[in-house]
């Protein structure tokens, strides 16, 4: 394989194994992509490879490894921004901003428990996957926190998108496209992200024993209140029985729990917890979790720990369903019943994690039919290679939208060099 990359060898590239190109700087990335274009060899782009198991299996010949691009370029807490290279580990960056009482408000998911990988996620993957946690309902997603990016397109061009300020409408907002594009548009080398103050305290109201439909109505009532709910999740009782799992400091409640999170200054969360408890009294009495106990529960919800790869449902394929929040309860309940699977609700019902009993097709037809009926979409986030080869991992789009998306992809990567085939089975060749 070395012979395929003579240009890179001439620059003294570190080539690990037969087909891993470990880049040292943004220039290396440009050279690697240009060489890949010239030799028509598609590249798989990785940081630490923590999310390699998500997406269609790719038709790529070489790995472009960005893990050495791991520097924090600048961090300006008073400007609420951090500029960091794509290969920097998310955990390191999070502990840096945590030391200044700041956080990524979109609460990025750590997919390691779900996928059963030990690899540490990187910033580039965090943005490329764009998987936001429970606070998305209040703070937005990864796309709302990406202010600027430098990257190399499939033309082999180094380009920049956005800027380093929070308010910017200069030109097309290319950052929105890069977030959640799974590395299929450009190789991001450096990103500027918005950081936000970490709330001083938090409270979680826990209601017990609600069925999915009632829980959905409870969450809708909470999210329709002025109490600024920053997390609304529901874990049905059967999850605890079937998955034999625990949920942070709640342990295994043995019955369904509906969770509503409030964050802010102490006086405010205490006031709102009382007011929200009163509002929700018709749905049941609420127990209140404080600060650390609350945080532990939400990190389990965020990372879908009940469906963890090392748990009882570890072998079950997992779907991530996004739908109109008020439709979530009915959708999830029927899907679980008809598939024999288990579901967990987040985003007030707008996000459903569904673990379905293993079948060769992951019950794709059933999932997609139910999800289409409410105007949602479903992504297979955990499944074997074979399964991911046989089903559309990402939700198929109507023809016009799919064609437009493909033209957009081509406008960044006409030769289909970057993560070829990851988002669409049709573009794998």
């Amino acid at each position: 394989m070395l012979a395929s990359w003579p240009f890179l060898n001439s620059r003294g590239f570190e080539q690990q194994g037969v087909d891993t190109l470990k880049v040292r700087d943004a220039k290396d990335v440009e050279d690697a992509v240009q060489a890949a274009i010239a030799s028509e060899q598609p590249l798989e782009i990785i940081g630490n490879g923590s999310k390699r198991l998500i997406g269609q299996p790719m038709a790529t010949n070489a790995l472009l490894d960005l893990s050495s691009l791991n520097a924090v370029t600048s961090y300006e807490p008073n400007e609420l921004i951090i500029t960091v290279q794509a290969g920097a580990p998310v955990a390191d960056v999070q502990s840096l901003i945590d030391s200044r009482n700041q956080q990524f408000a979109f609460e990025p998911i750590d997919t390691a428990p779900l996928l059963g990988t030990a690899n540490q996620a990187t910033i580039g993957g965090m943005i490329g996957a764009g998987l936001a946690g429970p606070r998305r309902i209040k703070a937005g997603g990864a796309r709302d926190h990406l202010l600027g990016a430098h990257g190399v397109s499939g033309f082999g061009d180094s380009f920049k998108a956005g800027g380093r300020v929070v308010k910017n409408v200069t030109g097309y907002d290319l950052c929105k496209l890069l977030a959640g594009s799974w590395g299929t548009l450009a190789v991001m080398t450096e990103v500027t992200l918005k950081v936000m103050p970490r709330p001083e305290s938090e409270r979680t109201l826990v209601l017990r024993g609600l069925d999915d439909a009632s829980a959905n109505r409870t969450m809708t009532a909470a999210l329709g209140s002025p109490f600024d709910v920053s997390g609304a999740a529901h874990v049905p009782g059967s999850v605890f029985h079937v998955a034999a799992t625990e949920l942070g400091d709640l342990g295994s409640p043995g019955e369904a729990v509906t969770l509503l999170r409030l964050e802010g200054i102490l006086a405010s969360v205490v006031h709102r917890a009382a007011a929200l408890g009163k509002l929700l009294a018709p749905f049941g009495a609420a127990q209140v979790l404080e600060d650390a106990a609350s945080a532990t529960v939400w990190s389990s919800v965020r990372d879908v720990v009940p469906f963890a790869a090392n748990g009882a449902l570890g072998a079950w394929p997992v779907w991530r369903i996004v739908c109109p929040p008020a439709s979530g309860g009915a959708l999830g309940e029927r899907l679980a019943r008809d598939s024999g699977g288990e579901v967990i609700y987040d985003w007030g019902g707008g996000l459903i994690w569904a673990a379905l009993p293993p079948r060769p097709d992951a019950q794709v037809a059933l999932v997609r039919q139910r999800v289409n009926a409410v105007g949602g979409h479903a992504t297979l986030v955990r499944g074997s290679d074979e399964l991911r080869r046989n089903v559309d991992v990402f939700h198929p789009q109507p023809a016009g939208l799919a064609a437009l998306s493909e033209r957009v992809r081509q406008s960044f990567d006409p030769k289909n060099i970057l993560n070829r085939g990851r988002m669409s089975r049709n573009s794998a060749t």
């Binding site: 764009g130 709302d144 397109s153 380009f159 308010k167 329709g224 739908c323 109507p398």
Partner: protein, 450 residues
């Protein structure tokens, strides 16, 4: 800067199907099209062209659905920004982005321009508050993007359509998310003897982890103009005035006001007033919201600029603007969305005097260059339009601009939609699609490059 241009012909469709037919016809005949909502753009984004169809969306003024359970409103694009908030106010909801022109500007135009407003510091711009749209491509093809879900499948096309200034398609329906109004809101008005102290106060508030609902700053000329116009009770002996709004539950607002007051005093504030009633809060805002017309009273003409800089550079930016004011011999009044570093310098001039307009435009362009030099951008919320089109190379390289134009090609390969806006030079899509440069480089891999 006068943006006057009669269009070739105006078309006012009633339905998406008609929009589709008009665009399809124009596409087949190679006729340019300029989409237009209320026409309130401050950058000439909806300016007609002499050889283009002006496609007015004024008849699309029906709210199609209010869905409180999913906290969204589905609306036609000609509905005004404020009308959305008014339609859901009875249930305690509102639509967060609040551009100053909200009484007149249309939601379709807001999406096209990614409009901001005073409260976007805490609640985001249009792009953070829209979930989906129906868009008609120049070919006449009708595409639905997103919907009532928090995010759509595949690439975030909604994100790219928002702020695309009418170059990618014609929006015929928008789904926006609505929020519950905060329980209370109060404003603090703080005066400073030095602009630097006001800038420091902004930085320290943010640094203390407080994200106010709004944080606005005015300099002395702006304060005086506004006070003379609306009598808001602004102190006239200060160099800078901050209006800081805190919203949320009463206990939270009270606590944050205490913290903000302490920070302001620590920065050497000379006056601090806290609104004691809703009427007083509105009065504090009245002067700021009327700043543009107030300046209009003290000058025959003015030019409103819209750059963004890192917050910490506020004092430096102001000093540079002062120097430029002396250089061009034109007065300037400054109002800022200080919380997010968005400057609105108002350059005062008289178009009837020889060369004043040219000087004002050159002054404005220099201010935007300063913004970019200080690490900021050309426009924070008004858009590029035709006004800042020729300044784009100050911020973007040819390669950056080519990538943006390639995206345009994915939507409108013939460049028929809103041509002449945003980009200083237009390239043919076929030209942008080539990779000849790299092929040339790779022919000589052994050559060192520097």
């Amino acid at each position: 800067m006068s943006y006057h241009q009669p269009p070739m012909v105006v078309v006012l469709p009633d339905t998406t199907e008609q929009v589709s037919q008009v665009l399809k016809y124009c596409f087949e005949q190679g006729i340019k099209v300029v989409p237009r909502g209320s026409g309130t753009s401050l950058s000439g984004g909806a300016l007609p062209l002499a050889d283009a169809v002006l496609l007015g969306l004024g008849k699309f003024k029906r709210i199609r659905e209010i869905d409180f359970d999913n906290r969204v409103v589905v609306t036609e694009p000609g509905v005004t920004n404020l009308a959305i908030s008014e339609a859901v106010a009875h249930a305690g909801y509102y639509y967060a982005p609040d551009p100053s022109s909200q009484i007149a500007c249309s939601i379709g135009g807001n999406v096209a321009e990614n409009s901001g407003g005073v409260h976007c510091l805490k609640y985001g711009m249009t792009t953070n508050n829209v979930l989906g749209c129906e868009i008609v491509l120049i070919t006449g093809e009708i595409i639905r993007v997103g919907g009532k879900s928090a995010e759509a499948s595949g690439y975030d096309l909604m994100g790219i359509i928002t702020g695309s200034e009418g170059l990618l398609g014609v929006i015929t329906e928008v789904t926006v998310r609505i929020l519950q109004k905060p329980e209370t809101a109060r404003a603090v008005m703080v005066g400073f003897a030095q602009v630097e102290a006001a800038g420091e106060c902004v930085a320290r508030i943010i640094g203390a982890g407080i994200i106010p609902g709004g944080m606005e700053m005015m300099d002395k000329p702006a304060i005086h103009a506004a006070e003379a116009f609306v009598h808001a009770g602004y102190p006239l002996d200060v160099e800078a005035l901050l209006i800081i709004e805190l919203d949320g539950p009463g206990v939270e607002v009270d606590e944050l006001i205490r913290r903000v007051e302490a920070i302001a005093k620590g920065c050497g504030s000379t006056t601090v007033q806290i609104s004691a009633s809703e009427a007083e809060r509105n009065l504090f805002w009245a002067g700021r919201k009327a700043a543009f017309p107030a300046v209009g009273r003290i000058s025959p003409d003015y030019l409103c600029m819209d750059g963004t800089i890192p917050r910490g550079k506020l004092p430096e930016a102001l000093a540079r603007i002062r120097d430029l004011s002396a250089k061009y011999d034109l007065r300037v009044a400054n109002v800022f969305h200080a919380g997010d570093g968005n400057l609105h310098p108002l350059i005062l001039f008289d178009a009837n005097k020889t060369d004043e307009m040219q000087r004002a435009e050159a002054f404005g362009a220099d201010i935007l260059r300063v913004c970019v030099e200080l690490g900021g951008v050309l426009t924070g919320e008004h858009g590029v339009g035709i006004e800042k089109r020729d300044l784009m190379p100050e911020m973007f390289s040819d390669i950056d601009l080519n990538q943006q134009q390639r995206l345009k090609c994915a939507f409108d390969a013939q460049g028929l939609l809103n041509p002449g806006k945003v980009f200083p030079t237009l390239h043919r899509c076929a030209e942008l699609g080539r990779m000849h440069v790299h092929a040339g480089k790779l022919a000589f891999p052994e050559l060192p490059r520097f």
